[in-house]
């Protein structure tokens, strides 16, 4: 029986010719990732294993991005513990403030993941690297500790859902709208324990940044991973960013999928997820009158250069609505610099937005954009759970950078085509 792309990657890393759905396997890891929330817990567990070194100093990446620049004494002390661990273990891929970025934008940019890899990360959005044709998935701190010690992780071989993308998206429809549409279609547990494999000729209309956004939110449908086939665009990205060898895996013709969905991208509209769950979607023409207090443009989902270009195109020459706070977070230092050179940051600042250093802060209600009771935000982030961005009685609406930027100008959720 044929294997899906994910199953092929997992089989190869388990040293097996074939694997079957439900089989428990142990796979070799090409990347083990942690951040400043999950790594301190992993370090404690790592020491309990009884080894005194990590399995491979080059294959571990630690990115302090959640509560950094540190928001208080406790988070500063956690980051200090991480630095000491990194020094002791001689971990090569540690990214300090100044070289740092939001982990899931930074790791591909630094070339630390390439097609055919298996990567685990103690952050649920580690599924992002599926955009590059890698198997990557989120795990917790204990799995991170075991991965750092042994270079291995156990998995149950997942079944798969196939999403055949057709046609070309209309203007102002991007990866975020497509993935919100998919999550709305299958529900927040629609892909539970499964792979989401995106295929079809429509993919050629998606930029790498669109694909990163879509793979990033596979977890929001419960997916174990989201993955794209490797095409010329993927290989071009890899050539620019990495010197590591890679392997291209393709699904077998007779691979088995539990469900197949066909999506005509040309029929999709800008899409918004209403509180308090990402599958509570409405298309922009169904949104109604939703006034907002804060706009957040950034995060591991939508803080890449294409996202900032899209937002700047909408905001160019306009002013943020009175009473609305707009916070823009480029996802890495490189993206920040590129946005500066392209004049995007000037556009944002002149419009009345603030531009911040890369951080996950506002996305999880950590710092730099926390909401008060009763406030509403529209954000390009990935989750809108109760209390996600601050007060349990605040609200988060998820949308693309274009919709978020248009909403910044009018003060209510707005279709970009109505103001550009």
């Amino acid at each position: 029986m044929g294997m899906t792309m994910t199953q092929k990657i997992l089989a190869a890393h388990a040293g097996l010719d074939t694997v079957e759905v439900g089989q428990l396997i142990q796979v070799d890891l090409d990347l083990v990732l942690g951040n400043d929330i999950t790594t301190p817990v992993a370090m404690e567990e790592f020491y309990k294993i009884g080894v005194n070194q990590v399995f491979d100093k080059k294959k571990i990446a630690i990115v302090p991005d959640h509560f950094t620049p540190n928001k208080d004494i406790k988070t500063a002390e956690n980051c200090k513990l991480i630095r000491e661990f990194v020094d002791e273990m001689e971990i090569e891929n540690y990214f300090e403030i100044g070289q740092m970025g939001i982990e899931h934008a930074l790791i591909p940019e630094k070339g630390l993941v390439v097609p055919g890899d298996v990567g685990i990360g103690a952050d649920s959005h580690t599924c992002t690297y599926g955009a590059l044709g890698a198997f990557s998935t989120g795990i917790g701190s204990t799995d991170m500790a075991a991965g750092m010690a042994m270079g291995k992780c156990w998995f149950k071989v997942p079944g798969a859902l196939k999403f055949i993308l057709k046609g070309k998206p209309q203007e102002w429809v991007s990866g975020k709208d497509i993935i919100l549409h998919i999550i709305g279609t299958i529900g927040v547990d629609g892909a539970l324990y499964k792979s989401m494999e995106f295929v079809g000729e429509g993919i050629k209309h998606l930029t790498m940044d669109d694909r990163f956004t879509m793979a990033n939110m596979a977890i929001e449908a419960g997916g174990k991973n989201g993955i794209f086939p490797v095409d010329e665009l993927t290989l071009e990205y890899v050539r620019v960013h990495s010197k590591r060898p890679y392997t291209v895996y393709r699904a077998d013709e007779d691979a088995v999928y539990e469900e197949t969905y066909e999506i005509d991208l040309s029929r999709l509209l800008p899409t918004v997820a209403f509180p308090h769950i990402p599958d509570n979607i409405r298309t922009i023409d169904e949104v109604g009158d939703v006034k907002i207090d804060q706009v957040v443009i950034g995060s591991c989902t939508n803080g890449r250069i294409q996202d900032l270009r899209m937002a700047a195109k909408v905001m160019e020459g306009k002013q943020v609505a009175k009473g609305v706070r707009v916070i823009v977070f480029p996802a890495t230092q490189k993206i920040y610099l590129d946005a500066m050179k392209e004049g995007l940051l000037e556009t944002f600042i002149k419009a009345g937005a603030v531009v911040s250093t890369p951080t996950c802060g506002p996305c999880l209600g950590g710092h730099m954009g926390v909401l008060a009771k009763g406030e509403r935000a529209i954000a390009t982030t990935n989750r809108n759970f109760v209390g996600r961005m601050g007060h349990p009685e605040s609200e988060v609406y998820l949308a693309s950078p274009a919709v978020a930027a248009a909403s910044a100008i009018t003060g209510k959720i707005t279709n970009p085509k109505d103001i550009v």
Partner: protein
């Protein structure tokens, strides 16, 4: 742990890790501190009412969201002896097993158990006894490999044991 019994705290579907332990408390990873704020944004009375041995019952997709292990750690440190749900989000499922927090998938139990029921769980047999209603429900047993991790009280002790055996020339 072979058996446990306690009172049920029942919640709905998609109980996410942000409500289990909100991000504003993630600057610490001390289990006792995390327990003080467990379930706070969903049920502000939970931490003051929960007693050792009590059980959480959720519906679909329990533990969805973040990979933060602080979530199962907070639940375990609250004294909860088991979480029963009709399905678990996969990272939460792994994390719970890895830290030795017992969890059971049992849609029938979820359907029939009500908030406040007292139940007894026999982990070896996978039998849930609803003492309030005098009903029995059968849960999915863990695969053998996961049972071994649970018996070792989590993944780290399981690995450490394996390494020690290798060093001593064992299996």
């Amino acid at each position: 742990m072979m058996k446990t019994n306690g009172r049920v705290f029942k919640y709905g579907s998609n109980v996410d890790t942000d409500v289990i332990i909100p991000a504003r408390y993630l600057s610490t990873f001390d289990p006792g501190e995390l327990a003080k704020h467990c379930m706070e944004d969903l049920d502000s009375t939970f931490s003051s009412q929960v007693k050792s041995g009590d059980i959480i019952v959720g519906e679909k997709n329990f533990g969805c969201g973040s990979s933060r292990e602080h979530a199962p750690l907070a639940i375990k440190a609250s004294g909860i002896s088991c979480v029963i749900a009709s399905s678990f989000a996969r990272i939460f499922y792994r994390n719970a097993i890895n830290i030795g927090l017992p969890i059971l998938e049992c849609p029938e139990a979820v359907e029939k158990i009500e908030n406040g029921d007292v139940i007894e769980i026999n982990f070896k047999k996978g039998i849930i006894h609803n003492m309030t209603k005098t009903e029995f429900y059968e849960a999915q047993p863990f695969p053998e490999f996961i049972q071994k991790i649970m018996e070792s009280d989590g993944l780290i002790k399981y690995i450490a044991k394996g390494l020690a055996q290798q060093k001593s020339g064992g299996e």
